[in-house]
């Protein structure tokens, strides 16, 4: 294992805050990808909710080696911090020639935490082609307050990402993101291994913050997505400002003065004087 921590930088974390996910293409070595399908076929021991990683995944186990890959470990530490607990893990299988897709959904029951989030790891041991379906993800949907499959009526949204990827790809997702397993039109069984992590420390400046004031941070946080309605798109940015204030520990952070302007209450200040 590398002794160099591969933490994310501020621009990458801001991108996660805007998009709601982070792709790490092909970062799992081929020998582990080859090992994975046999591990999944043999079955994974269940993990009680809230189990620390070392207890959930013993030293040397496949899952432990997966989460200790430097790129994965660094990204997880940057987002949920050291010593997260494992919520649950599961191997999702999409059978060949399935007639339908999963409806668009979020995995959590409605989650109102303004200052914390869980991260879901999705690992793809095989190459995923367009014909195999892959995971549908709607960038920028994670801060919307919807519950589970209530979004099932939405079949397609502009800017959705239909995951195709090389073997060994890992995607880390904010727990609230809208996603779904797409229909598998191929003859190949598709596997995806999911682990959900809960933070155990405040998620404040856990990444490499050397570029905290870089213009790219604001650019990422101000990003629009093609499926946002005109009016609601602005609210998305306002909600991201609030999340970034919590993550960066900077209560004055703003974009276009939006959050500052609507917090300006001269009359309230006078009445407290």
């Amino acid at each position: 294992m590398s002794t160099t921590r591969q933490l994310l930088n501020s621009t990458q974390v801001a991108r996660f805050v805007a998009h709601g996910f982070l792709r790490l293409d092909g970062i799992v070595p081929p020998e582990m990808n080859e090992e994975a399908l046999a591990v999944f076929t043999a079955g994974l021991p269940s993990v009680p909710y809230g189990t620390p990683v070392p207890k959930a995944f013993p030293e040397g186990s496949f899952a432990r080696r997966l989460v200790e890959l430097p790129a994965v470990a660094g990204a997880l530490e940057s987002l949920v911090g050291p010593d997260p607990t494992v919520d649950h893990h599961y191997v999702h299988i999409r059978e060949p020639r399935e007639g339908s897709a999963q409806p668009l959904h979020g995995d959590a029951v409605i989650d109102l935490r303004p200052d914390a989030f869980d991260v879901q790891l999705m690992y793809y041991p095989q190459e995923v082609t367009a014909e195999m379906g892959g995971t549908l993800i709607v960038p920028g949907s994670h801060l919307r307050r919807t519950n589970e499959s209530d979004t099932g009526r939405y079949q397609n949204l502009r800017g959705q990402t239909r995951l195709t990827c090389p073997a060994g790809t890992v995607v880390l997702l904010h727990h609230g993101i809208w996603h779904g397993g797409r229909r598998n039109d191929s003859d190949i069984v598709r596997h995806m291994y999911k682990i959900r992590f809960n933070p155990t420390v405040p998620q404040v400046r856990l990444w490499d913050t050397a570029d905290l004031d870089a213009p790219a941070v604001r650019e990422e946080l101000g990003r629009g997505f093609p499926w946002y309605e005109q009016a609601t798109g602005r609210l998305e940015i306002l909600n991201r400002i609030r999340l970034w204030r919590a993550l960066s520990g900077d209560p004055a952070f703003d974009i276009e003065y939006w959050a500052t302007r609507i917090a300006n209450r001269p009359a309230a200040r006078r009445s407290q004087a």
């Binding site: 007639g99 999963q102 919807t146 939405y154 079949q155 397609n156 009016a231």
Partner: protein, 93 residues
């Protein structure tokens, strides 16, 4: 030969509450059973605007009401607001 008429439904989600605004999301349901549209099966919308669907013969039968947010929830985002349902009646069955 059956003369039964079946309903095809198109749902468009628009950029604003105006029917001639841009399509941001879409879904189709086919009462003939001839097609089975499903989640994530196309990246390009069938029409650029709601009016373009009317021009192609779809009949609008429902548009989302404009409901103000409950006090205190003005900044929260949730479902897509500007939902328009269209139908086509086609022979089938």
């Amino acid at each position: 030969m059956s003369t039964t008429v079946r309903q095809q439904v198109l749902v468009l989600y628009l950029d604003t509450s105006a029917l001639d605004s841009r399509v941001v999301g879409w879904a189709r349901y086919d009462g003939t059973g001839a097609t089975r549209p499903t989640t994530g099966d196309s990246d390009e919308p069938p029409y650029e605007t709601g009016v373009a669907a009317l021009e192609d013969g779809w009949r609008l039968f429902q548009a989302a009401q404009l409901v103000p947010p409950y006090p205190g929830t003005e900044h929260e985002t949730s479902f897509l607001k500007h939902e328009f349902f269209f139908e086509k009646l086609v022979s089938g069955g």
